[in-house]
């Protein structure tokens, strides 16, 4: 947006994020307790994660490796030395009365991640990303079920100590849609790295700062000055747990603030809670300021010097690079390349197919047919993990012309997904093997003999009449003939 085009009173939305992601490790960040699903509350706990006196936290190497991988993926700097701090607050989700986190020397500094919204690419600056421990889970019991009216609190520390990475962006977002696109891209990258599981409940949690500033404050490049950003009152929206939720929560908050400004009211600088079920944000009692957390160095954990790991640790090809390679190597359009790289598993499967069959056919089958049918059934490709060879066999049946594409999709693929049968068995049971040429030729001749009116129409130049005849042949062959071939055969006969 240029300054000249700005209308008086036009408003710009400014959003920055703090994204918390759970890292996929076997054990917690500072102790050997499992991070897996527990059967019972307080089953994966020990003196360290319960904060018992005398317990000594020792950093999990895998969590640090995951952090370095993330740093590499977002082009961040891994400083020569990084250390942990205690963030002091009294709340029973952490039994020590402090959280071990990182303060002024985080493990990742100044990275970026590019987002694509409506065909436009924009880099989002990532100011920092740091390691910390997840708190435990609280249940507020009794009263109206809300936090304020609850009678008492029940605490389960199974989650306490799960490694978290907190990723903090600059206030670079200009719309809730951009936030959603960023979170989706970030999840993809993290999944490619194998350090994150999006399916896991509560694995992604987002706090967002949103403010509204006058568009006139922007310079000719559309950049907003630091003063303009700092002078606007912002709200911090907490309790967002998905990318869809982020878009909804921030769209609500954007409208709420714009309405206040347009009515001449001042937006309060405050923390607000996203209430997913009601679809609104509500004011929370004001929380402590940064100095109230009395950060100080965690003396139990010596500093880390892992800058050299950045070169030593390998990371796989990332979604964006893979998308670009797919477009070049397999001549795919942007949409197909994007679908085919949406998860590492989809991309790997596509490449397997593309190495054996026509890449275009493989692309159609994975991006459109398979993902389409899975999406319709609300299934993920991970649920088909053990049956991908069956899908490959189905593509082979189409590639080698043994069944029609229409039957392959509408009958075989759907039956495979709904009933769990294998492709060859379905082809056999449904009699879908392509009709042999003689049979099709006979059906073509019969259709011409039986439908003199259509033949006459065709002869008079009504090209639509051919479709009617194709339909007759398809019906006669039970749909097993290839419509393209039938069309050619009909024209060959009629044009003689």
């Amino acid at each position: 947006m240029t300054a000249q085009t700005v209308q008086q009173g036009e408003l710009v939305t400014v959003i920055g994020l703090e994204v918390h992601v759970q890292l996929e490790t076997e054990t917690k960040i500072f102790c050997g307790c499992s991070t897996g699903d527990a059967d019972e509350p307080n089953e994966h706990v020990c003196p360290v994660c319960l904060g018992l006196p005398g317990a000594l936290p020792v950093v999990n190497e895998a969590a640090v490796e995951a952090a370095v991988k993330i740093g590499k993926a977002i082009d961040a700097e891994i400083p020569q030395e990084t250390r942990f701090h205690r963030k002091n607050y009294y709340y029973p989700d952490l039994p020590k009365n402090f959280q071990i986190t990182q303060y002024d020397e985080p493990i990742c500094q100044s990275g970026e991640l590019e987002v694509r919204v409506e065909g436009e690419r924009r880099p989002i600056e990532i100011e920092r990303a740091h390691l910390e421990e997840d708190p435990g889970s609280l249940q507020h019991v009794g009263g109206g079920g809300g936090i304020d009216s609850a009678e008492y609190t029940l605490i389960d520390y199974n989650r306490a100590g799960t490694p978290l990475m907190e990723i903090v962006t600059a206030p670079d977002f200009r719309s809730p849609a951009e936030v959603r696109a960023f979170l989706a891209e970030l999840e993809e990258v993290l999944e490619y790295l194998g350090v994150f599981d999006a399916e896991r409940d509560g694995s992604l949690r987002v706090d967002a700062n949103l403010s509204i500033v006058e568009a006139a404050e922007a310079d000719e490049n559309g950049e907003l000055s630091t003063e303009a950003l700092e002078s606007a009152n912002r709200t911090e929206v907490k309790n967002i747990s998905s990318h869809k939720g982020a878009e909804k929560a921030l769209a609500y908050e954007e409208t709420r603030q714009k309405n206040a400004i347009q009515r001449g009211r001042v937006v309060e600088q405050e923390t607000r809670h996203w209430d997913e079920s009601r679809g609104i944000t509500v004011s929370m009692r004001s929380k402590a300021e940064e100095k109230d957390y009395r950060y100080f160095e965690e003396a139990d954990i010596p500093p880390l010097q892992v800058a050299h790991w950045r070169e030593e640790i390998e990371i796989p090809e990332l979604p964006r690079a893979r998308r670009e390679r797919f477009r070049e190597e397999y001549a795919l359009d942007e949409e197909a390349a994007s679908k085919l790289t949406s998860t590492k598993q989809v991309a790997d499967f596509y490449e397997d197919l593309a190495s054996e069959f026509d890449p275009d056919l493989a692309a159609t089958w994975v991006a459109d047919e398979l993902l389409g049918e899975l999406n319709y059934r609300d299934m993920a490709i991970t649920e088909l993990e053990d049956r991908l060879d069956e899908v490959a066999r189905l593509v082979e049946l189409v590639a080698t012309d043994e069944i029609t594409a229409k039957n392959a999709k509408e009958i075989v693929l759907r039956t495979m997904l709904d009933e769990g049968a294998a492709p060859d068995a379905i082809v056999e049971a449904e009699g879908l093997g392509k009709t042999d040429e003689g049979e099709v030729q006979a059906a073509v001749e019969a259709a011409i003999a039986d439908n003199p009116d259509a033949v006459a129409d065709y002869a008079e130049g009504d090209d639509g009449a051919i479709n009617f005849l194709v339909g007759q042949v398809m019906q006669a062959t039970g749909g097993s003939a290839d419509p393209g071939t039938v069309n050619q055969l009909l024209r060959a006969e009629l044009d003689d």
Binding site: E26, P41, P92, H140, D148, R285
Partner: protein
């Protein structure tokens, strides 16, 4: 002496962060005590600073599971429990 005297307001703020309720006479008492404690710590300013041992870095453990406590052991010292969880007052 510390440059900024501890005020009653400071004491009430620290107490609220620690979620401790103080009676008015306790606030007076703690204001004096905070002053004394801070004065005592000022003595540490006289201790020369030394760098920590440079060799001690990257103290890490492999990502391998160790035995956890049983839920019974974990809850053993809890004043109140319910359904295998620690039970405490409402904390809004």
């Amino acid at each position: 002496m510390s440059e900024d005297a501890v005020t009653e307001k400071d004491v009430r703020h620290v107490a609220s962060l620690a979620r401790v309720a103080l009676a008015d006479d306790e606030v007076d008492r703690f204001t004096t005590q905070f002053e004394e404690i801070l004065d005592a710590f000022e003595t540490l300013e006289e201790v020369p600073s030394v760098d920590r041992s440079a060799e001690l870095t990257n103290v890490l453990r492999p990502d391998e599971k160790r035995d956890s406590l049983s839920p019974e052991e974990a809850l053993e010292n809890a004043p109140e429990t319910e359904e295998g969880r620690f039970k405490g007052p409402n904390v809004s």
